[in-house]
Symmetry: C2
Subunit: 345 residues, 2 copies
C-alpha cells in the first residue's frame, strides 16, 4: 500500500487527515507547512509526528486505528518532502532499517517489506499459468515490480503511479526495493490509476495488482464498484486481480463492503487472504483476490512456481517470505472473519 491514488484534479478526493483534526499525520502537515520549502518540495523542519509524541521516536496514529500507536526509534531523518499529493518522509530506524512514511503512515520498512511485497504479487501471479501482461496500480516504491520480475513468463509490466516523488525517493534510499524499476519489461506511467484503467484496452491484462493506500478518503473509490468494473474490463477472461484490503482485526466493516462489491463484479472467484506484516496496524494486512469470468482460478492452489534460478536471485535476491504453503494458508480465516465473509457469498 505504498501510494495514494487520488487524482489531483478531483476535489472529492481528500485525504481523511485533511478533514480530521487529530493524529500525527495532521501534525506532520502543520509542521511541513511551517517548514522552509527549498524547491523540490523538501522541507527542513523536523516533522511533528517524530518529535512531539515520543521524543526521538516516530509514532504512527490515525483516525483509521484510533486509540493505538506503533512507534519506531529514529536514528536519523534521511528525507522529508511534500509532493503534490502527500508528505513523504524517509528515516533510518534503530531496529527496522530504513522506513518510508507517507502522510504519517508507515508504507514499508526494510525489515519486513518482504512479506507485503511478496504476498501481494505472488498470490495472484502464482495462481495462474504463464502470466504475460501485468498492470500495477500504485506501488511507487518498486517492490511489487521486483517481485513481478521473478516471473519469467511475464513479457510486459505496466505501472501507473501518481506520485513521482515516491519513485524518486525509493530509487535514492531503497535501492533493494526500487531495483524493480530496472527490469526492461517495466513501462512506468506517472498518473492517475483510475484514469489509466478507464483507458486501458479491454481484455488486456493477465493480472492487475492494486498496491493502494487505505480505502477511506481519497482511495475510497478504489474499493468501490466503478473501479472494480474498470479492472474487470481490463482483465482477459480468467485474469486475476489482487488489491490491498486492510486488516481483519480493524476494518471488518470495510472488508465486508469490498467483498460484497467484488462478488457483484467478478464472476470468477472472489477470495480474501491475509498475512503478517509487523509494522502495519494490528500486524496484519489483507488482500482481495478475484478472477474474471473465464478459465477457472482456484487461488488456494498455486500453479506457477517462481523462478529460483541464479540470475533471478542475483537480480532480486532470494524470496524471504513467500512459498506455496504460506500461499494456501493465507486464505484460512479466523472464525469471526470467516463467518462475515462467507455470509456475503
Amino acid at each position: 500500500m505504498s501510494t495514494q491514488e487520488a487524482s489531483a484534479t478531483d476535489s472529492s478526493l481528500k485525504r481523511p487527515r485533511e478533514e480530521e483534526d487529530n493524529g500525527a499525520a495532521m501534525e506532520t502537515e502543520k509542521s511541513t507547512a511551517a517548514g522552509t520549502d527549498n524547491g523540490g518540495g523538501v522541507t527542513k523542519e523536523e516533522p511533528a509526528c517524530i518529535s512531539s509524541i515520543i521524543p526521538g521516536w516516530f509514532s504512527e496514529t490515525s483516525p483509521m486505528w484510533p486509540g493505538e500507536a506503533h512507534s519506531l526509534k529514529v536514528e536519523k531523518i534521511l528525507f522529508q518532502g511534500k509532493s503534490d499529493y502527500q508528505d513523504v518522509i524517509v528515516f533510518q530506524s534503530a531496529t527496522y532499517g530504513k522506513v518510508l512514511v507517507l502522510d504519517g503512515v508507515i508504507q514499508l520498512t526494510e525489515r519486513d517489506e518482504c512479506a507485503y511485497q511478496e504476498m501481494i504479487t505472488h498470490l495472484p501471479l502464482c495462481s495462474i499459468s504463464n502470466p504475460k501482461k501485468v498492470l500495477v496500480i500504485g506501488g511507487g516504491d518498486g517492490g511489487v515490480l521486483r517481485e513481478v520480475a521473478r516471473h519469467s513468463s511475464v513479457e510486459q509490466i505496466d505501472m501507473c503511479e501518481i506520485d513521482k516523488m515516491v519513485v524518486d525517493v525509493s530509487k535514492q534510499y531503497f535501492p533493494n526495493v526500487a531495483i524493480g524499476f530496472e527490469d526492461p519489461r517495466v513501462n512506468l506511467v506517472i498518473g492517475d490509476g483510475v484514469a489509466f484503467l478507464k483507458n486501458a484496452a479491454e481484455g488486456t491484462y493477465d493480472a492487475v495488482i492494486v498496491d493502494s493506500s487505505d480505502p477511506i478518503g481519497p482511495a475510497k473509490e478504489l474499493f468501490e464498484k466503478p473501479f472494480f468494473e474498470s479492472v474487470n474490463r481490463a482483465l482477459r477472461p480468467g485474469g486475476v486481480v489482487c488489491t490491498q484490503a486492510e486488516s481483519l482485526w480493524l476494518h471488518m466493516d470495510i472488508i465486508e463492503d469490498i467483498v460484497s462489491n467484488c462478488r457483484e463484479i467478478f464472476k470468477g472467484s472472489v477470495n480474501y487472504a491475509w498475512t503478517s506484516v509487523p509494522t502495519y496496524p494490528s500486524g496484519v494486512i489483507g488482500f482481495m483476490l478475484c478472477s474474471k469470468e473465464g478459465p477457472e482460478v482456484d487461488f488456494k492452489k498455486p500453479v506457477s512456481p517462481i523462478d529460483a534460478d541464479e540470475s533471478s536471485i542475483k537480480s532480486n535476491g532470494p524470496l524471504r517470505f513467500y512459498n506455496f504453503e504460506i500461499h494456501s494458508a493465507a486464505f484460512c480465516l479466523p472464525a469471526f472473519a470467516k463467518k462475515v465473509i462467507d455470509s456475503k457469498s
Copy 2:
C-alpha cells in the same frame, strides 16, 4: 503468556527488567516502589509507563524488542499492584477493552485475547483423540482453562500458577476470561510450575499447556532441556505439549534454540506454529508443539472437533478465532523461518 513462572525462592530467576535499566517496565517499578502500598500490594500512584511516554497512553517497550513500542490510549486505570513476583496493572483502554499488563508487558486485551487463548489450547487438544487429563502451567488469567473446558472428553484440568494476584485480578476485572476457573474439573495450585512438574507422576497427562512469559531471564529455564524433560516425563506416550514460543519476526535465535532442545527431548513430532495477536510485539506469537514417543501425532491434521453444543457456548461463548482451517494453516511458515527451523531436523 500471562504469568511469570519464576520460583520465588530461586534467586537465579530474576526478571530481565530487574537487571536492565531501560524500558517502560523499569519505570513502572520505580513508580510503584514510590507509591503508597496500602496493604494487598496495591499502590496509588500512576505507573510511569502510562504517564511518561505518551501522556495518557500506555506504551510497551522492552529490551526484548528494542527500538519499537506499541501504545494504547488509557481511559482509566482500574487496578495497580505489586505481587511477590511482578507489577500488575489493569486499565480500560479506549479501543481494546480492558487490558492486563504484567511488568510493563501486555498479557491480554479483551479485543484480541481470543486468538492466543484459543490457539494455544486447541492446537494441542484438537490434535489428539479424547484428551482426558490436562495440565496448564501459568495461564493465571483463566483464559486457557475456559478453552480447555470446551473439550467434553476432559476429566481433569490441573493448573499451576505462581501468582495468586493474577488469578484474583482476572476474576475481578476479566469475568469472561476467568470464567474458566468455574469449571468443576479445574484443580488450581498456586505454586512454582517447574517444581510442580518435577513432582508430577510419570505418564500422567494427555496434554501440557505452558502459558508462560518470555524465555529470556526468569522463564528462560522453561525453554531449556531440563524443563522439557520434566514435561516429557509427565506426559503419557503420545501425549502432547504446547508452549508459548515467541515471534518469528523478533526472536528467531531463541526459537532456533527451543527447536533444537525439543528435537533432543521429544521423540514423537516437533513442530512450530504461529498466529496473529495484534497486541503482542510484531503482531504474532508462536507455539512449540511436540509429542512424546508413542502413538503418532500429526499436529497439522486436527482430529478432535470442539463441542459447539448449546451448553458449552452458553458457558464459554462461541469460538471467535479457532477452526480446523486456521489450525492447519498455523504450521505454514514463511521462507525465512522454514529454512532455519527445517535445518534443525
